[in-house]
């Protein structure tokens, strides 16, 4: 990983939720980098720390009592992990934008679509009322909203889920961010709409050269869109590499188990294999490899020390101690 060519370099990120009593370490020593113009996927099952990782990057936890407790997030020469709140506000929206999982609740129901798009244009780009309106029309057109001029005065309830997600993407792109964080952007949408939105994100990336951090639990989405991907398990990265490397040669038992549970990957006539057991309680994670209680290949060594990522081939890293001997 070369820092010089990265847009964002996350190193040893630790994010802690201070609940009643026990603190939960949702993100525990996560390191990755996002390169300019790439779509970087973050996959894993619910509660593995994908969203917490995203939220850490912009330091907003939706009112949850969470904090970035360690590590660094280098972006544009700044460390977002320690940046003061005032300067963080200038980064958010302007240089890092985010789109959310549920487009039905992510738009303000009392403001028209146009007002919501113009708000960011005026705040971050200092456009006047007229210029902002013109720009809003162009943005809506670019995300594939038909007759954008007449849609500016519409309210969110007059839009379908897919259209709302397009509007949210338009709002996110209003200030030409360098990084777009998309937290499960298609999970709440129909499959056909899902495909359209993913293609839209791909096209916008190609047009603008921005980077995208795409969070999803859907490996199909990863295969379709991501250049590189990190597989998260229980607050840590289990495996990271180029998408085709991960799909062709999964180098972690967890990734392999995920792929075996995927109809397209398992092949015709074979039964899908669910992963036995449950994800660990992050308030008291297992000692050693986080995955060992559910891993068929676990040996004593796996139960003793927490494994770090190591290269298995150029650009492909795994946190499994037994990659080589298992021939994964």
């Amino acid at each position: 990983m070369s820092t010089a060519t990265s847009l964002m370099t996350v190193d040893g990120l630790v994010t802690r939720f201070n609940g009643h009593g026990a603190a939960v370490t949702a993100v525990d020593g996560v390191s990755f980098d996002i390169r300019p113009g790439e779509i970087f996927g973050l996959v894993g099952e619910s509660g593995c720390g994908k969203s917490a990782t995203c939220r850490s990057l912009i330091r907003l936890f939706g009112g949850a009592p969470a904090e970035v407790a360690g590590g660094s997030i280098l972006f544009d020469g700044l460390d977002l992990a320690t940046l003061n709140d005032r300067r963080m506000e200038d980064i958010r929206g302007a240089r890092i934008a985010m789109i959310f999982q549920d487009p039905m609740t992510a738009l303000n129901p009392t403001m028209s679509i146009g007002e919501q798009i113009c708000e960011g244009l005026r705040r971050h780009r200092g456009l006047g009322r007229r210029a902002a309106r013109e720009e809003a029309v162009a943005l809506l057109a670019s995300v594939g909203v038909t007759s954008p001029g007449s849609r500016l005065n519409a309210y969110p309830h007059q839009f379908s889920g897919g259209m709302r997600q397009r509007v949210l993407i338009a709002i996110a792109l209003a200030c030409r961010p360098k990084l777009l964080i998309a937290d499960e952007p298609t999970t709440a949408l129909d499959v056909t709409i899902q495909d359209q939105i993913l293609k839209l994100i791909l096209r916008l990336r190609d047009d603008s050269g921005m980077s995208v951090l795409l969070v999803t639990h859907d490996l199909g989405v990863v295969a379709q869109t991501c250049d590189r991907v990190a597989v998260m398990y229980a607050g840590r990265i289990a495996e990271m590499g180029e998408t085709r490397q991960i799909f062709r040669r999964p180098a972690h038992p967890y990734t392999r188990a995920l792929l075996d549970a995927l109809p397209a990957h398992a092949g015709r006539g074979t039964k899908l294999k669910p992963i036995g057991g449950e994800p660990p309680n992050l308030a008291a994670p297992p000692v050693g490899c986080r995955f060992h209680p559910r891993c068929a290949h676990a040996i004593d060594r796996c139960r003793q020390s927490l494994p770090d990522l190591h290269a298995v081939e150029p650009g492909h890293e795994s946190a499994c101690l037994r990659v080589e001997e298992l021939g994964l």
């Binding site: 912009i58 907003l60 939706g62 009112g63 506000e89 200038d90 980064i91 958010r92 929206g93 302007a94 934008a97 985010m98 959310f100 999982q101 549920d102 609740t105 992510a106 738009l107 303000n108 129901p109 009392t110 403001m111 708000e119 960011g120 705040r123 971050h124 949210l168 709002i171």
Partner: protein, 279 residues
């Protein structure tokens, strides 16, 4: 009319009987309140013992009271002062309560704890006890009534708005606004307030009903508007003394209070349906 409203909004208005009737009653009320006094020829205060306690007739629609004053003239004249006080006594608490609720709910933490304990303390006192204590000790005047009602009634609005804000600040669009780097003030005013205000507006309508009762009750107790200024509560109190000889002296101001109450109750109910469509 209403061409600027969306078809959806118009349809919702057309279905909403409470709001329609409430608005009609309100228009009539406002017409009488502000237009009525211009048409009246009799003085609401001038005493004429020759005309005392006349029953309702063509010349004195609501009869005359024990001092020979026309009850109709006095009921109409009183509308202005009663409505003015009732509305101000709701508006001031509404503004203050909403501001406190917004701040308390949005900031949370210690600020929230301090403000809400203050609300709890005020809540522990019966409404009338506090109002009567404040007006009673400061002396009866319109300014003191504003003060008393504002000090006592803001807590309801603060609680309502705070509750809404607690819900809304977790909504994704508020999160999204933060992600877009907007200032807290902008988020509060543009994204939280418009979504949190509806229940408070609905409650405000209901509160007008309670407040007009409270204002007239104070008048009745001699703590509100002072005679001879016509005021419905005062008129009911005065009419009480000759209720068997002239029932009209108390009945008509009483009916006026009922009319205002029904008007605002319907408006509140109608607005509730109109602003918060259920599914």
């Amino acid at each position: 009319m209403m061409a600027w409203l969306s078809p959806d909004t118009r349809a919702r208005f057309r279905r909403n009987r409470s709001l329609q009737v409430g608005l009609i009653l309100l228009v009539v009320l406002l017409a009488i309140t502000f237009g009525g006094p211009l048409l009246l020829t009799t003085d609401p205060i001038a005493v004429d013992f020759g005309q005392a306690l006349l029953p309702p007739s063509a010349s004195n629609w609501f009869g005359t009271d024990d001092l020979g004053r026309d009850v109709f003239t006095r009921v109409v004249t009183a509308a202005q002062i009663d409505l003015q006080i009732a509305i101000m006594c709701v508006l001031l608490p509404f503004l203050i309560g909403t501001a406190v609720g917004l701040v308390s709910g949005y900031i949370g933490g210690k600020t929230d704890i301090v403000l809400m304990r203050l609300v709890d303390i005020l809540w522990a006192f019966p409404f009338y006890v506090l109002v009567i204590a404040i007006v009673g000790s400061l002396g009866p005047s319109i300014a003191n009534m504003y003060l008393a009602f504002t000090l006592v009634a803001w807590i309801s609005f603060a609680r309502i708005v705070r509750g809404e804000v607690l819900l809304i600040k977790r909504m994704e669009y508020v999160q999204a606004a933060k992600v877009l780097g907007y200032s807290h003030l902008r988020i509060i005013l543009r994204h939280v307030l418009p979504n949190a205000i509806t229940p408070a507006i609905v409650f405000m309508m209901a509160d007008v009903v309670l407040t007009i009762l409270a204002v007239t009750s104070l008048g009745f107790l001699g703590l509100g508007i002072q005679p001879p200024t016509p005021e419905w509560g005062v008129m009911i109190a005065e009419g009480r003394n000759f209720i068997f000889d002239g029932w009209w002296g108390s009945l008509f101001p009483g009916l006026a209070i009922v009319y205002v109450g029904v008007t605002f109750a319907l408006l509140g109910d109608g607005l509730d349906d109109f602003l918060r469509p259920k599914a």
